[in-house]
Structures are given as C-alpha cells and as structure tokens.
Amino acid sequence: MADTTHGIGGLTFDAKKRNWPNEANIFIALLLIIGVFELLGHFLMGQSFLFDTRGRFGSIFNEARLEIIILQVSIVGIIAIGVTQVIISSGIDLSSGSVVGATAMIAMSFAQVAEVNGNPNPTTALGSWAQDLPVLVPVAIGLLCGLLAGFVNGVLIAYTGIPPFIATLGMMVTARGVSKWWTAGKPISFPTDSYKEIGSGLMPVVIFVGVAILFHLLLKYTLYGKHTYAIGSNESAARMSGINVARHKVLIYTIAGVLSGLAAIVLSSKNLTAQAGMGVMYELDAIAMAVIGGVSLSGGRGSVVGTVLGALIFGVIISGFTFLRLDAYYQEMVKGAIIVAAVVLDRWRHYLAALR
C-alpha cells in the first residue's frame, strides 16, 4: 500500500494530498495585493496599475511601473537574502543597514573622479591619490568592509555565545558611528564613470536576481545550506551530530556581511553619492521581507524564493501607494497594516491546511 518512494510502510500515504509549498501562499498574497491595486486604480483613478492603458510604452504593461517595482527593492533585497540565511540559522542581523552606510562611505572614497566639470572634485575624501582608481579597487574595498563587519558579528556570536540580537545591535551602533566619523558627516559624491555603471539602469535588478539564484542553489543543494538549516532547527543537535557550529556561524554572518557590502556598492553607485545616513532602517525592511516570505524567526524554515516574493510584495505596496496618490501619512499607516495582513494570510492558509 505505502508508496516506497516516499517511505517505508506504516500508514497510508496519499502523495497527491501533500501540503503545497509555503511559497505558493506568498505568491497568492502577492497576486491578491496586485489585484486590489488594479481594482482600486480602476475605480478611483480610472487608470490601470500594471497595464499600459494610455499607450505610453507600446506594450501591454506599464513598463516604467514594472521596472520601478523591482528596482526599488533590489538593494534591500540583496541584504534580505543575506538576512534570510542568518534567520534560517536562527540568528538575526540588525547591523545590515548601518553596515551599508559605513561601507558606502568607505567604498565611495576610493571611487572618486579627479575632476568635475573641469574643476577639481569638491567632495573627495582621501586626497588625490585615491582618485580615478580602477573600479576594482572600490568594489574590493566595499566587499571587504562588509566581510569584515560580518566576520566580527560571526566571531562574537559563535565564540562568545552572546545573542545575535545584541552582537549585531552593537555592530549597528558602531557602524553608524564609523559612517559619521569617516568624513565627519560630509557626503561623498562624484564617482568615476566605471563605478557609476554598477548601479545604473536595471543593473541593481540584475545583481539582485543573480544573488537570489546563487543563494537559492547554495541553500538548497549544498552542505552550506543543509548545515544552516540544521543549526537553525536545533543547534545542540547539530553540534552533537558533529557539525562545526561555531565555524559555520562565522561563515553565515560573514557572507551576510559581504552581501551588505555589495548592497552598499550598488546603492552608492545608483545614487552617485554616499552619505552617513544611508541604509538606516534597511535592516528592518530586509527582515520584514524575509518573514513575509515565510522565513521563520525561530529558525530552520524559509527559502530564498520566499524572500524574493516578500521583496516584491514590498515593491508593489510602495508603487501602489504612489499610484493611488495616497497621502504619505496614510501610506505609512496602511503599509503597517499590509505587512501584518500578508503574514496573517499565510497563517490562515496553514490553518486551513491543518484541517484537511
């Protein structure tokens, strides 16, 4: 009776009635939210949300809208992917936003042009030796800064046993200090042309998608992923099973740090500037994207696909609000409610599934 490709006997197992994947719920939530905006747009604005009803783009979609929906969440999305693996391992990273700020400042200092409109660069931070350097230099330095911050997080968490919340909160405060100290608060602008390209146009989207695919594969098909889930599920079991938990945690946080560094590079390139206040609160958006995408804050469960869907939900909400010309106050109030509703929806499906 029992299908031996699934197990080894015992109860009846009806493979057709397996629970569908969590990601499907989130996708439905995404469609639902789009549907609501489309409907409201139709009735309130006499306009379509996603479709090109005014013939502006020569396509059935409002391409400008599609682009901005993804573009505006790409950078936080990159961070969210790093955060996803951290949360799966039952950790948390509150430092990502501040690390983005500090890294952007530092990387940008090495990406300066010598001349702006024929005058010497007015914002350069380090002097002329750091001008007109090849793009590899700021990129490498940016990734390295992120790596370093992540590594410190990881070592603190893995080897001193303090909770990730505290270690990364400390890093958050420290990195915020660094980003203000670096140029005494002055912003740094005017990057080289090659640096400008990293974040121009749809490049942030391309990078985000690339990172997402890579980490989807890493988490699903490699030792790295398996051990990350194992640690998040039961850390002491993982240790007793012979996983080098401490070393693995250092790796997880270091990788998350590198992704923050990457996000900082893309962000400062896209905005053509770095300033100390950059990245504030990104950590919360990133965590929210992951959780809306079904990553469990108690560890052990979640996926990159879910997080990407969570990021898209964010993007749709932001664009939808501007589309509806909602007052900024209401935008915030409703955004709070939608974050909650998206997750409630998901729980509700779970609940129904448990009744079948």
Partner: protein, 258 residues
C-alpha cells in the same frame, strides 16, 4: 596502559553548581566488550555519557580512549576519534527530514567544494531506507520533517544514524525506551551484530531482560557514584536491583560508610 582497553575513566566528576551529579567514577571497557550501565532515575548515567563525549566540560577526572589520554573539545572530536553515541534526548533537527537527520554532519557529497559541496540527495535517500529497514520502523513519508514523527520513529532514526557508521565504541542511552515490540527486537538484533563484528558498546537501559540478554557486564550507578561492577554470569536480576536500590554496595565502592 592495557592496549585492550577501549575506554577508561578515573575520578570522573561533574558538579552542577551544588548538585553532585557524578562523583569519582572509575570505569573501563575492553575491545569487543558490551557493558550495561543501570541505575535509578537521576543516578548520573546520562551525565557520565555527556562527560566522555565532551558534550559538557567535566569538573575533574581523567579519560583515556583508545590508548591515549583525551580531552575532547566537543562531541565532534569524540566522534572523529571513534565514539558513536545515541543520546537520550536524541539530538535531532526537528525541521529537517529523515535522510537529512540520518546524515547530519556526514552528508554524502557529489562534488567536493569544501563547505559548499554539492549534496547527493539520491544516495542519502536510498541509504536511509536501507538503514531504517534494519530497525523495522515504519515511516510513511521520509521527506516529512522529523518534528512530525512519533516518539518511536524519532528514536529509530537516531539509532539508524549510529548503526550506519562503524566505530570503536558505541554508546546508547536508553535506545529502546520509546520503541514498540517489533522495533525493540530489531534494535536488539543490531546490538548483536555489533557484538559479532567485535565493536564495543555501552548500553544504558532500565530493562533488566534486555541487559541480561545483550551485555557481558553490568555497572550500577547510584547517587552519582559507581556502586557495583558485576559480570553477568555472577549475578541475576534480583541482585542487580539490590545494588540499584541501595540494599547492597560492593565493598570496593563503599565510600558512604567511610
């Protein structure tokens, strides 16, 4: 040291704050020998296991394994040295499925890329089904997270994990406590296989019949101390119970009187 001795402890002691969970335990086991540890609840049996597998840091005492003094830095080192353990709390990752748990920490790999090595899911699945068959347990869908397994199913996964790999010393802490009639019989068979292939075993159990069936020697713990070391041929169930309850203590262990 006698080269035939796999594991030996001397003065092994563990205090938790004011609780003296293990006090001056002297213990040894020879190659191929199967030794049972019995004793009341809270007598310190699992504590003893946690010290020799380095899950915790001992308060004091010395441990020799495989001919040399050891200070394992954690259970990973203990396992790498050749000690396989089924812990009483089973040590399973609730969100992972059965094959993932079975191969936790020694996954089968397709391409070796260090920490980013590609997993060989198919091979692990198949090996899991083979491994579990030996325990006679039934699991309708091994892709379900371990969280959803019954008490006995969980225990069988933990046992299969140990039984699938060869070792110098196997430790099982109450392995059949949650098992059904058939599964218990199968696990006892697994233990006999170990005996046949000359592997040493420490078996912790409250089941007198099982202990008498499977082991060569019985060590009794009481109140954190070793109180008896009995060859199976020289004792019987009633005698062992007398040591467990405190009615008797072997003279060489009688510190309480002193």
């Amino acid at each position: 040291m006698d080269n035939d001795i796999v594991l030996k402890t001397q003065g092994l002691t563990k205090h938790y704050g004011g609780v003296h969970a293990l006090q001056d335990a002297d213990f040894e086991i020879r190659r191929g020998e199967h030794v049972a540890i019995m004793g009341d609840n809270g007598a310190g049996k699992s504590t003893f296991v946690r010290q020799i597998t380095a899950v915790e840091q001992r308060t004091r005492g010395t441990v020799w394994f495989d001919g040399r003094e050891v200070e394992f830095d954690g259970p990973l080192e203990a396992r790498e040295a050749g000690i396989e353990t089924v812990f009483q709390n089973l040590a399973l990752a609730d969100d992972l499925n059965v094959p993932d748990n079975l191969f936790l920490g020694r996954e089968k790999i397709k391409f070796n890329l260090g920490p980013f090595s590609i997993l060989d899911y198919k091979a692990m699945r198949e090996a899991t089904l083979r491994g579990l068959e030996k325990t006679a347990v039934k699991i309708p869908n091994i892709s379900q997270p371990i969280r959803n397994m019954s008490g006995g199913q969980r225990q069988c996964v933990a046992i299969a994990r140990t039984a699938t790999f060869h070792s110098k010393l196997t430790i099982m802490d109450e392995p059949t406590a949650a098992l059904g009639v058939q599964e218990t019989a199968q696990v006892e068979n697994i233990v006999r296989t170990l005996k046949a292939s000359g592997e040493s075993l420490i078996l912790i159990s409250h089941n007198m019949r099982q202990v008498m069936d499977l082991c060569d020697r019985i060590v009794v713990f009481r109140r954190g101390r070793v109180v008896a070391n009995l060859r199976k041929e020289e004792t019987d169930g009633q005698d062992v119970v007398a040591y467990i309850t405190g009615a008797k203590t072997q003279s060489q262990y009688d510190v309480e009187a002193a």
